[in-house]
């Protein structure tokens, strides 16, 4: 018994193949008990390739149509939905309920942060924020799997070229960039630290401050080269800071949850500042890590 799926087979199989969208060569023998005969592949291979191309073309012909239909239908549905949603800027919308009221009224005294957004993401809904930091951590780890130099993704020639480029950059440094960076970097760092530490009383906090800090390090690294960046941010410090920041955050938060859930007395009053600092370090490291891995495949 053998089952064949080709142009002559029944509509059901062809329909299945179509729905399936599979572009693999269909297997000609379902039952493979009999010994595979030595087939001469020459004539069939070309035909095979042609058919494959045909199938791929067919797929690419119907796919845009289907996708467009889906997108248009989707947009129409969503448009109807938002027309029926609560009006913009209305004070009586369902979203303005007792939860946001409580955040606004008691946020400052309950979490010690006047910026209610910070109070919410670190105090009230801190578990989400822990997950979010994990996303950042994971993203760096995943980019490392992909781009960290190893024998699979870097050849000797590429390495050599990279070194040559770096040497060239040292000799013919970009003067304009360096001058601008010399003026800007201190201010960026200052601003970043201000945003980072004042997340409780003004807009900002760990995430914004960390990103700005990271951007500052990236600017420094782009202007003054790897060598000078590595003086304060080599691989070792990088991994220590990143892991330490996240560990600090996770452990603090773990204790906080444990205490809170069990109704134990709370001695972590100044926690927001510490957590902001830890989050900021993690985010800054993440951003710089992306940059370093993308440009050199190394930290």
């Amino acid at each position: 018994m053998s089952k064949k799926i080709d142009e002559t087979s029944g509509w059901l199989q062809r329909f299945a193949a179509w729905v399936d969208g599979d572009r693999e060569p269909p297997d000609r023998t379902l039952l493979v008990m009999e010994r595979r005969p030595h087939r001469d592949f020459r004539p069939t291979e070309e035909e095979f390739e042609r058919r494959e191309k045909d199938r791929l073309r067919k797929f690419f012909n119907w796919y845009p149509i289907a996708a467009t239909v889906i997108c248009v239908v989707m947009a129409a549905i969503l448009l109807t939905t938002v027309m029926n949603m609560p009006g913009f800027g209305d004070e009586d919308n369902p979203i303005n309920n007792e939860v946001s009221e409580r955040y606004l009224e008691h946020g400052a005294e309950e979490t010690g942060s006047e910026n209610v957004v910070t109070a919410m993401i670190i105090g009230y809904r801190g578990f989400d924020t822990l997950g979010e930091s994990c996303v950042l951590f994971l993203a760096v780890a995943a980019v490392m799997i992909l781009l960290l130099r190893d024998e699979k993704n870097t050849t000797g020639r590429e390495l050599h070229q990279l070194e040559r480029e770096e040497a060239g950059a040292r000799e013919h440094a970009d003067l304009i960039l360096q001058q601008v960076a010399k003026v800007l970097t201190p201010f960026i760092f200052l601003f970043a630290i201000y945003v980072l530490l004042n997340g409780e009383t003004s807009p900002g906090g760990g995430f914004s401050g960390g990103t700005i800090l990271g951007a500052g390090v990236i600017l420094f690294s782009a202007a003054f080269g790897v060598q000078r960046t590595q003086r304060f941010m080599n691989r070792r410090t990088y991994s220590v800071v990143r892991t330490f920041g996240l560990m600090l955050y996770a452990v603090l938060y773990g204790i906080y949850i444990f205490i809170g859930a069990n109704g134990l007395p709370n001695h972590l009053a100044g926690m927001i500042l510490l957590i902001d600092l830890a989050v900021g370090l993690v985010v800054a490291c993440t951003m710089y890590g992306f940059y370093a891995l993308f440009s050199r495949g190394e930290i």
């Binding site: 910026n115 957004v117 910070t118 070229q161 945003v195 807009p203 900002g204 906090g205 995430f207 914004s208 990103t211 700005i212 990271g214 951007a215 990236i218 951003m287 992306f290 940059y291 993308f294 440009s295």
Partner: protein, 83 residues
């Protein structure tokens, strides 16, 4: 204020349509950067300064740098071809 709002909203839509249609990838990324900046301004109009700061730093800053580095690696920038 309301005029600015409308300009920004329409600008967002124009950028969103233009970004993927640009022939050169570099142009697409730059238009996307503009999109991010407009978004940041809109967020400060919506009274969310936290979001505005983050979006400006992330969308227009870090994401764009990452896009540019990727463009360089895939040789879509002028003058970066090997040999």
């Amino acid at each position: 204020m309301i005029v600015l709002e409308y300009i920004l909203l329409i600008g967002l839509i124009v950028c969103a349509i233009a970004a993927p249609l640009c022939k050169r990838l570099l142009a697409a990324v730059i238009v996307y950067m503009a999109f991010s900046l407009m978004m940041a301004v809109l967020w400060s109009l919506l009274q969310s300064p936290d979001l505005a700061i983050t979006e400006a730093a992330v969308g227009a800053g870090v994401t764009s740098i990452l896009f540019f580095l990727t463009l360089k690696k895939v040789h879509a920038l002028k003058g970066t071809h090997d040999e």
